[in-house]
Every structure is written in structure tokens, then in C-alpha cells.
């Protein structure tokens, strides 16, 4: 029997078990609350804010922006919270002392969250479209789906970078929250990036999500595929850069944390 199918089976099983073991919402009630109600209410809040500020015609702008940001929830929290929750439950030392492949171990958690994030976005967007009677007749839905998937992956790279810090720091979940909510301001979610001060605009384009949101808006507006493609390519490049830096930092900090015995500090 080939070793490859066995490895895939192990990966899949470990992905599911890690997700269920670590996350509180791994019950139907918790899942509905955290992965459906929260995203839907976030989208609803900002759509209403946008409608109040700029009229009904802006509803789609705000709905789409916030839906894309919610995609990042999975990619960022999935990885950062992994380390934080492992530390909280005291399983981080066991994990780090095991021969498990680190990249596979941590990305296996992100994988489930990528799928999970896409599901949350789909529900959130669907609810908003129905409630506000949004017009999607010009939208290229398959391309929009690609944008969602791309953002989930690129934000997972960002999550890996900051999650590494959780090896040597308590309360890495605080970092997860800071990163996630800063994206709300910096990535053109609720207002154009051009309204930010110059210095912050540079930061915006160094972050994942910014190009992905622009691409998603173009996809919904039926914009040119080549332009969307270029934006997604840029998005992937940024995400990959974060992922590589994150993995390198993770291996460096793993050694550092073993010297300091910091994995068990809680």
C-alpha cells in the first residue's frame, strides 16, 4: 500500500481532530454563533452604516468588503489561535516535542479554516444579498469564489507569521485580534485605501487582503479578467512572502522558546 494515501489520511484526520479539540465553537451551537451569526451581524452593521452614510447604492460596496474581511478571520485566527489555544490547554510542549512535520502540522489547521471561512462568507453574503436585495447580475461568481479562496490562503500566511510569536509570548490571541481588526481599517474594506494618510497606504499594499478586496469588487462589477488576475497574482505574492517569513520565524522561535522553556508559561 502506498505511503501517500496514508499520509493524506493522517493529515485529514489530524486536521479535523485539531480543529475540534482546540476550538470552542466545534459544536453546532458554537459554530452557528461564531461562524455564522458573528459574520452576518458584522456585514449587516457595516452595510447599515454605509447606507446611512452614502445611500442604498453603497450597500454592495460595504457588504462585499466586509465579507472579504471575514474570509481573513479563518486564515488568521485559524493559525494564530492554534498556537494560543495549544498553549492554553498545555499541549504545545507535547506537540513541539513530537516528530510531527511542523509545516504540515500548522498548515493542516489553516486548511480547515480556509474551507470554514469560505462557508462563513458565502452565508454572510447570501443573507445580505437577500436582506438588502443587492443586485449581482453583473457579478462573475466563479471569479469571486477564487478571490475568496485566495484571500483565505494569503491571510493564512499572515497568520503564520504572527502565530509564530505565540511560541514565545502568552496571549498570542491578542495579536490575532489586533491583526484581524487592523485589516478592517487598512485594507479598503469600508472606504478606499486612498483616504488613508500616505504612510498607511504603503502599509496597506504590503498587507494581504488589499488587492484581494479590489479584485473581488471588480469581479462583482464584471470587470476585466486580466486586471483581476493581476491583482490576485499580487495578492498571492504578498501572501507567499508572509508565509515564507512566517515559517522561517516559526523555526527560529521554536528553538528560542525551547531555550527559555517558554512553551508552558501560561
Amino acid at each position: 500500500m502506498s505511503a501517500v494515501p496514508a499520509e493524506i489520511a493522517i493529515f485529514a484526520r489530524s486536521t479535523y481532530l485539531q480543529y475540534a479539540a482546540l476550538f470552542q465553537w466545534a459544536t453546532v451551537r458554537g459554530y452557528v454563533g461564531y461562524k455564522i451569526v458573528l459574520p452576518v451581524t458584522q456585514i449587516l452593521f457595516f452595510v447599515e452604516l454605509g447606507v446611512y452614510a452614502a445611500g442604498q447604492q453603497s450597500a454592495l460596496y460595504f457588504a462585499l468588503g466586509n465579507a472579504m474581511q471575514i474570509t481573513a478571520n479563518a486564515g488568521i485566527f485559524g493559525v494564530i489561535a492554534t498556537v494560543a489555544n495549544e498553549r492554553q490547554y498545555g499541549t504545545l510542549p507535547m506537540l513541539l516535542a513530537s516528530p510531527a512535520n511542523r509545516l504540515v502540522t500548522f498548515m493542516s489547521r489553516a486548511v480547515v479554516n480556509v474551507i470554514d471561512g469560505a462557508a462563513s462568507v458565502a452565508v454572510g453574503l447570501a443573507v445580505t444579498v437577500v436582506l438588502f436585495r443587492l443586485d449581482l447580475h453583473t457579478a462573475n461568481l466563479p471569479l469571486l469564489a477564487v478571490c475568496v479562496l485566495t484571500i483565505s490562503l494569503t491571510t493564512a500566511g499572515l497568520g503564520l507569521l504572527f502565530g509564530s510569536i505565540g511560541l514565545v509570548m502568552r496571549d498570542a490571541i491578542v495579536i490575532a485580534n489586533v491583526v484581524y481588526y487592523l485589516l478592517l481599517v487598512l485594507c479598503g474594506i469600508n472606504f478606499p485605501v486612498s483616504r488613508l494618510p500616505g504612510g498607511l497606504q504603503v502599509i496597506s499594499y504590503c498587507l494581504p487582503l488589499t488587492r484581494g478586496v479590489e479584485a473581488a469588487r471588480l469581479a462583482v462589477a464584471g470587470g476585466p479578467t486580466n486586471k483581476i488576475g493581476a491583482l490576485l497574482a499580487g495578492e498571492l505574492a504578498v501572501g507567499l512572502a508572509y508565509a515564507l517569513c512566517g515559517y522561517a520565524l516559526f523555526r527560529i522561535l521554536e528553538t528560542y522558546s525551547r531555550r527559555g522553556g517558554l512553551q508552558e508559561a501560561y
Binding site: A20, A26, T27, V28
Partner: protein
Amino acid sequence: MSSRPAKAAIEVRALQKKYVTWRGRIRRTRHENVALARIDLTIHAGELFGLLGPNGAGKTTATKILTTLLLPDAGEAWVLGLDVVKQTDAVRRRIGFVFGGERGLYWRLSGLDNLRYFADLYRIPPDVSRRRINQLLGQLGLAGREHDKVEVYSRGMKQRLHLARGLLNDPEVLFLDEPTIGLDPVGARELRVLIRNLADAGKTIFLTTHYMFEADAICDRIAVIKKGAVVAEGTPASIKRMVENQGVVEFEVVGISADRVSMLRTMPDVRSVTVTERDLAQLVTIQCSNPADLMTRLGGALDGITFQRISSREPTLEDAYVQLISETS
């Protein structure tokens, strides 16, 4: 409101408790786990009573019902003549409990702050709590460390802080759930001395443990619980007398095969055989009803095997416990 005269410090009648768990995520199935089948206990005032049992036997469940943390499904329990279900508040004022372990303390606060906080929650007047806290810190060897955060305490210190908290309200009855678990031998011995001193001072102590020597050393009476039922109750001596005609033969060998061990088990009067690895040798422990006779037969039974040492001894409480637990399984 039911009330009983406080002839007994703790009285338990037909107490039952089961836990409901759910398995599965989408299609969930209900499972019941019986923690207490139906237990009766009577503990007298000033007694140091030990409840022994394997993990999952129901010791902690019984303790939590008596400390008002859990409601039983059936049966009754009284502490100092007060119903633990209906007179909760009154019970809580007069008891203390120690669950111990790493959890159960505010790690980011100092030991002193932990004690002050709980002193107020126990509604102890400030002047009384100040005096008592100082006393307890000195008595339990925490004086000088009370301003340190609990997160830097050793396990032993945390355990002593748990005990200090349990004694804040000068309880008449003290519940200790495996108080020496995780402690080093010196720390554990010191704690046992302390517990015995508290009992000698007149407190009623309800202790759960699965260290037999501990129960043997300090308890006035013990009960053995297994799968939610009490299987034996009495003084350590009377429990040991249950295995009066029993004995233990132990010998060390190098390289005893599984076949030989199986053969030993089939010998007359042999109740159980356990093999413990010790470096290059194995320690074989045989519980039997006639150790002297068995020793004469062993030579023939283990022909060809070199004994390093052989001895027989009187059964300990642990032997009695092992026999009771295995008999009732």
C-alpha cells in the same frame, strides 16, 4: 426543611448521581455514566475519614455533593445535620474544601490576594480574616512568599495555598480531595502531619486518596468505593483483616517467561500474580491465601529459574484494596 440532629458530622443515605454525556457532533447520542450507584456513609465528628477508590470510582463526585457543588439525582446527605441540597448556604459557612492541583487559584494575583478575596467571599469579618490569614501563612510555611504571584509558586506551595483557603473560615468539616497528589515525598509527609493535627484538634476531615499508605497512616476509618458503590468500610486494621488469611510472596528473578507467570496463576491458593520490571530483573508479587505453603511449592514450580531474593509479608492495606477492587469487578 429536613434537618437531622448532628450526631454524625456527615451522613449519606442512598446517594445516587449519574452524568449525561453526548457523543457525536451532528447526530448526537446520549450516554449515561453512573458515578454513584447508591452509597451510604456515616462519619462521626472529629473523625479523619478516608474514601479510597480507583480513578472514576466516584470519590470526587461524592465530595462535590457533600460540598454543595453538585446536586444528587437521588438520596440524601447531611453535613453537621444540615441538608446539602436545601440548606446550602448554612453548609457552606461551616465547611472548607480543597480540590488542589494546578488550577483553582488566581495565578496573576499574589497568594495573599487570593486569600483575602476568598475571605471576603466567605464573609469573614476583616479583623478576623487578617489574623487568620497571618496564622495560616505561618502554619503552612507560606510566610514571606505571600506577596509573590501564584504563578511562581511551586506545586507544593500551591497545594498549601489551597489548604490555607480551605481553612480560612475555620471550618468544622474539611473536605480534601487527593491533597498530596503531585507532591514530593517530603512535602506530602508534611501535609499528612498537618492533616492529622487538624483532626486531632477536633475537625472532621473527609479525605479522598488512592495512596493506600496515606490512608493507612492517618485515617481513623476508611471506605473503599468502586464503580460508585462502597465495597468495604471500617478501620484500616479491620479492612486488612478482610484479607487476614491472605499473604504476599515476593521474589526477584531475571527473565521469567509469560508461560511461567500464567502457570503461577493456576497454582492452588494463588489469587493474583503481578510482575514489575526493575532494571534487569522482575519483581513477582503473588497474593495468596497460604504464603508459607506456597513458598515451599515455588521451588518446584519455578525449576531452572534463579531467585535473587524471596520473601513473604503480611498484607498491607494496599493488598486488601487490590483484592477488594478486583473481587468486585
